[in-house]
């Protein structure tokens, strides 16, 4: 018996893994969120828990991962819904992926530049000659920083960009760089909660760009508009409800996010509060065309877009009115 013990333990562990993968009911949809489970995704957890999706006969599976990977799945109609930033929508459409934003979640672009107070960086112009850390020369962080710098008449020769992965907090604290490009609702909150005094420059204060939104594809819009309408409705109600009662939303988040331990809860609640400040809680999209045009202009300036595309096709308010 003793010699079979390791084998029995292995089998037990494997059965444990299988147990959590029970099949789910019909009319399932998959919603692809980037990153990892996080309080910033509270509207989706709230919409599930409050039954907003269920009211439309939908059962939602949440996926977490890389935004660029997911957008390929949505563009090829292998999956139907994801959260993506505006620049990803335009870049994908330029590559022939027919993705469309159907719900504007963020009214402000959620990127900024943080620095320790002692560095004295209080305006974009102060970035001249500085070492700036960012996850990489891609994605919302890169676009957000370039937009901010260009509005301050700076170009790549005026500062040094360092790809540091997602280690902005550590790099800044260890003074490996002078400033870091951050997600406004996350890293500044993490830094302040650890007692660091910081300055934050917001891209949204310099230029209005398209932030995160619910994205699907043209085929789904054409063939299953009711589904799109249902998902938009459920997500929007989740957004409004989370903003109305952040405390209750946080309690719901605890069900979906592992390791939200007590010593982190105050910080995580602040992350949620800061996120809510960035969300679009009304349905006023009167300036939205300009936001898309600004985004396209930045992408053309940087050279990520080679030629202009029709930004009107990149989004629709048909389901969001």
């Amino acid at each position: 018996m003793k010699k079979w013990l390791p084998v029995l333990i292995l089998v037990g562990l494997m059965l444990g893994a299988c147990k959590g993968q029970a099949p789910k009911a019909a009319r399932e949809i998959t919603l692809n969120l980037t990153y990892i489970p996080n309080v910033q995704f509270a509207p989706f957890y709230v919409a599930i828990e409050k039954g907003y999706f269920a009211e439309h006969g939908l059962n939602v599976n949440l996926n977490y991962g890389n935004e660029a990977d997911f957008i390929a799945l949505i563009g090829s109609n292998n999956q139907q819904f994801m959260i993506a930033s505006g620049e990803q929508v335009l870049l994908s459409r330029a590559q022939g992926l027919p993705v469309v934003e159907v719900l504007s979640w963020y009214k402000d672009y959620p990127i900024g530049v943080a620095s320790l107070k002692e560095a004295g960086i209080t305006s974009a112009a102060d970035l001249k000659g500085k070492n700036v850390g960012l996850p990489g020369l891609f994605g919302a962080s890169y676009i957000g920083f370039e937009a901010l710098a260009r509005r301050a008449d700076l170009n790549d020769s005026n500062y040094s960009l360092n790809s540091i992965g997602f280690t902005q907090v550590e790099a800044l604290v260890n003074k490996q760089v002078d400033a870091v490009v951050v997600y406004l609702a996350n890293e500044p909150v993490q830094l302040r909660s650890r007692g660091y005094e910081i300055n934050v420059l917001r891209t949204a204060d310099m230029v209005s760009l398209v932030g995160n939104g619910l994205v699907t594809n043209e085929k789904t819009i054409a063939e299953d508009p009711e589904l799109v309408k249902s998902v938009v409705d459920a997500v929007y109600r989740g957004i409004v409800e989370s903003a109305r009662d952040p405390e209750a939303a946080y309690q719901i988040c605890e069900k979906y996010i592992e390791n939200l331990v007590s010593d982190q809860s105050e910080t995580q609640k602040n992350v949620l509060t800061e996120s809510i400040k960035l969300w679009r809680l009304d349905k006023d999209l009167s300036n939205y065309n300009d936001q898309w045009a600004n985004m396209q202009s930045i992408l053309l300036d940087i050279g990520l877009l080679k030629a202009p595309i029709d930004t009107h096709k990149a989004w629709t308010d048909e389901f969001f009115k």
Binding site: L13, G16, A17, Y35, I36, V173, R194, L260, Q264
Partner: protein, 266 residues
């Protein structure tokens, strides 16, 4: 002189006691780690102390988090290792029987090893979805090559004189495989399996880091995202432990399956 002899004897005795040496090495590493934290004064979200990691280990063990993610990773590893080994041994055997096929396929097989798994893992997740299948596939891919190469080498090392003996005894291909090729190639093949087992752990983690909601790789992402570096350490240390256990199991399998060699030597 007596004192010196006693001292030498002590060190010799210590060097011969492997379990004691292992425990000592771990204690020394923990002390060095703690000293490093004291000296650098780095905050816990950059470098936690051993005590903080131990506390996190106990917490995740008690609330079931560690078990849940460990079992998910283990499932991927075991499936990847089994399927990868089975495929590699089958293909390796077929190639050893057909020099033409070996010459045709070798450039592709060698070329495929030049592709870093981290580069193609996102593509595999896109093509096959973020579920169990893509993770197992990544494991299969990393396990396949070392086992295949060792199968080929093992088959080639079968002495020609013994093959001729089997032929003279009019042995069927099945009998030759069972009584000659399998036992002769087994030591080398098991060596490949040992490498494959360690690599499969890396494969599973790469898949989970690309996109997943369970597994030790996911635990690492979660810890990073929440600035809970102690959680990252717990996941990494568990991985080390898991890889060591797998390696040990294969060593055990090896000593069991190759007991006849020891018996023959004796």
């Amino acid at each position: 002189m007596n004192k010196k002899a006693t001292s030498i004897k002590f060190w010799q005795k210590l060097a011969a006691n492997q379990p004691l040496l292992t425990v000592l090495a771990v204690i020394l590493a923990l002390i060095a780690w703690q000293v490093l934290v004291w000296l650098t004064r780095l905050p816990a979200f950059i470098l936690p102390t051993p005590a903080q990691v131990l506390a996190k280990f106990a917490e995740t063990f008690q609330n079931g988090m560690l078990w849940r993610h460990l079992s998910a990773t283990l499932l991927e590893i075991v499936l990847g290792l089994l399927i990868g080994t089975l495929l590699a041994v089958t293909v390796g055997y077929a190639l050893s029987k057909s020099p033409l096929a070996e010459k045709l396929l070798t450039p592709f097989l060698v070329g495929s090893q030049a592709v870093p798994i981290v580069a193609i893992a996102p593509l595999l997740v896109i093509w096959f979805g973020p579920g169990l299948f893509s993770k197992v596939l990544i494991c299969v891919l990393v396990v396949f090559f070392p086992v295949l190469v060792n199968t080929l080498v093992g088959m080639r090392e079968v002495p020609q004189s013994l093959r001729e003996l089997m032929r003279s005894l009019k042995a069927t291909p099945g009998q030759t495989l069972r009584h000659l090729e399998y036992p002769a190639a087994l030591p080398v093949l098991l060596g490949g399996l040992r490498v494959g087992a360690t690599l499969s752990v890396i494969g599973a983690i790469v898949g989970e880091l690309v996109g997943s909601d369970r597994g030790l790789g996911f635990m690492i992402s979660l810890g990073r995202g929440q600035y809970d570096t102690a959680l990252v350490f717990v996941a990494v240390l568990t991985l080390i432990l898991l890889a060591s256990v797998l390696y040990g199991l294969i060593l055990g399998l090896e000593s069991r399956l190759l007991a006849w060699q020891t018996w023959r030597r004796n």
